[in-house]
Symmetry: D5
């Protein structure tokens, strides 16, 4: 099992680079594996960003996220890793990822990471 | 198939131009065509604005949006194009368009564009 | 059919004029007539204000709003007109009216007007 | 513009023909055209059936329903026509179609048609 | 003010008379007048029927219901009267009207009337 | 404090006695007193009936229910007592009362009583 | 730790034994212990019954259910045991207990047990 | 009938006076009497505060609010009066009361009063 | 990748075999793979049964369902296969599986299969 | 019964200490005991924090919270005590605990405590 790679992520040129506008993609079918128990984790990723020169091509974003299906990582790691990958590929003006995981042991956890400053 | 045109958009004189007030129109039956797959896309447009001298006549706004029924464009393009058209016709003090598209490939995407500054 | 008049609106003395506090009344049974088609429009009015010396007597407010049942006016006009009437009668420190109309032609529209500045 | 045809509908062999079981597909992005006004109608189709020897292939069902995008027909006609087409292609033991259309003129209408008898 | 009349109701020929199928129209903007207080009443009418030879033309149904806007009648009377009118015009195999009125004096009332027998 | 009496309940003649139809009134502001603790109880009464010769006049029904505001009785008693009173006054073909009380001690209780047989 | 006992359950005489009526008590704060893992389980019990000669006194029912706070038993056992206890104390004409437990390991389980026959 | 008095309100010492923290109590079973009609009013009080040296003892708060059961006062008066009483007893750093009353005459009203400044 | 096997399913002895009672387990984190596209499918399984001599041990049921994570099968096949497996292991008096899959291509599909007869 | 101790809380090294990001864990199965009545209290804890060098290990957090199952403390005490414990173990940059307790005596109470300053 190879590690998730950002090589799979494709982008297209921002059609309106002169304007700050917000793109949000919600991925309710995210799943990875708990590195401690080997059990699958499930969650919803909400990716919100203001593009600079590039936007995410959605089919490649879907395939990128599917790489985590057999990947073992804790909630905090996986959310930060995805942020690093997404930032590396499109260098957005601002981006935020909120990961809401389903309950485990009666506890429900979410992780929210951000890069750059959200314009007012 | 001709491209959508703002010529179809009609306006009427703002009856209270001395007051900044907010008009919001929600269009839950917006549909266009994906230029890549040729499949129809569906979404809800929320158009919020503060008029200057002109307000949108609602029937013409409906007909304007229906022009996209057979128009092929990506989410980012179509939302920005509509903003440009609406701004060109009524030159509002402020306007924002939020386009919420229905899920494709398990991903749900929205685009939010804005022109001018929203008063406090 | 006579035009709606603010003469019907009654007020009582603000029992706590020394304190800025918020009164909100929601009227979900507002109806007027479209001046273009002659068809009835329906909506919900949310009236929020900080009184100065006078508060609205609620029964008279209900009767005032019922005057619009056979009155023909566009959304933008009717909302601003009601604001002017309410301001004229009680001269509040701050008041806001949000009018949410039911869908027509697949479009759902609301108008929000304000008078004075809302305290922080 | 040609009429919708059931030729586009594909099926596959029912993998468990010895068992009565229920398959339900909901299509929330159905759109056709009002033959009277030329305006688009929108609705949600819920197709529920017990297969006999054949099941619907879902991609072809999607393409079949997209044929109505530029087809003009009243609610009652279009729902019955789809039932006839679906019955003709897979000859199910039982099938029901419920079509819930979005409001027009303040009225919201649905049509429910059925073929065969639903087992207890 | 004249009484509501069923003369305004139009019908069209049932396109599939050989099949028992259900048509349901929801009218959430029904309003009449309380004969006792003179105050407006508001409610939602749900009209469900199986046509025999005729179906209701929806625009005429809307106009028919608007006749009650200035008509004074108690909940029980108005609901039964509408049933009688609708039955008289299209003679359906079965029809049911549920009228849900908004609260008055802290009490919320609905009336449900039926004509003919609903097929199993 | 006198006991609640059905003398206060008024009725009017059923305008359509030849037809079995259902009238339902929901009273979400019912309150009585716990005879054990002296604390107020709160609940929602749903009264559903098919009239014979008489229907409840709604204002008198409201006043009848307000008599319980200072009346001490257990849930089971108060619900059955109201049924007896209502039956005594209008002798309906069928009537059902569902009383849903708000939580006490972490437990939420409802009582449902019926008189006569509900037609199919 | 002693086992839960029905000795703690108190009843009072059914005030209307001549009438079949339904009493339902919902206990959303039920908790017991998993005998396998020692971890607490949480759930909502819905107890519905038609009394014969006796009704449950609610405070004693609350205390009875609190006995399970440190009691170890599987879902199927605990639900059936409670049914046996309740039946033993009031011998109802009919009773049903539905126990809805919160998710464990991504699975959400409920158990529904019944004694006697529910009248039509 | 005596007027509501704050004498009934008890407090206990704030266990963590060195820390600004928020306590919120929601009372959904508030009822008073309309001084004009004599009819009962119902509402939900939401009391939010930052304690200084004292916190409200909840049982006494419940009994304090029950005093309004037979007290006649307009919405604006009763909400401000409760604020004055609560402030007088515990002298909080900040307190806000929001009173949401149930609909009367088709209008739904709330009153929000505040004392002191809410920390950022 | 081996096929899912029922060998992994464990059971325990029904603690109350003399009573027909219903056990329902909802598994909202079911995922398999589309055999046509290789893309993951997601869904919620609702398993409802009346045990005869054996009940499902929940942890083994969870592990059994996880076997489908990399298994390719159509909706109709996978639901029927799971039913066959579950029936083979515990031979219940009655069992039903409802599988609700998330939307693909704008269509949302569910499959419901049953074995044995549900007691009245 | 010993007092809850923070010794049971385990942490792991923050994998991304160079980035301010938010971790939120919701514990809907919190239960403690009322010191006055001896009755169990139930609530939902929402713990939100920005880690500095350490993050909470979730299983130990679950076990830590279970210590309160037989612990007697008032709402205000228990919420502040948990905050002190959590702060002592991981010394976060910012942390907030919101405790929402289920209704008692018709009143529903929540307590919100915070340590450090939430970054903008």
């Amino acid at each position: 099992m190879t590690d998730p790679t950002s090589d799979i992520l494709e982008s297209f040129e921002n059609p309106y680079p002169g304007r700050d506008y917000v793109i949000e993609t919600v991925a309710p079918e995210f799943t990875s594996v708990c590195p401690k128990t080997g059990q699958p984790d499930f969650g919803t990723l909400t990716i919100t960003y203001i593009a600079d020169r590039k936007c995410f091509e959605l089919k490649s974003l879907k395939l990128y996220l599917q790489q985590y299906r057999d990947h073992g990582a804790f909630y905090e790691q996986v959310t930060n890793l995805i942020l690093d990958h997404l930032v590396g590929v499109i260098e957005p003006r601002w981006i935020r990822i909120q990961a809401d995981f389903t309950p485990r042991g009666g506890l429900r956890t979410s992780v929210t990471v951000e890069h750059g400053h959200q314009p007012d």
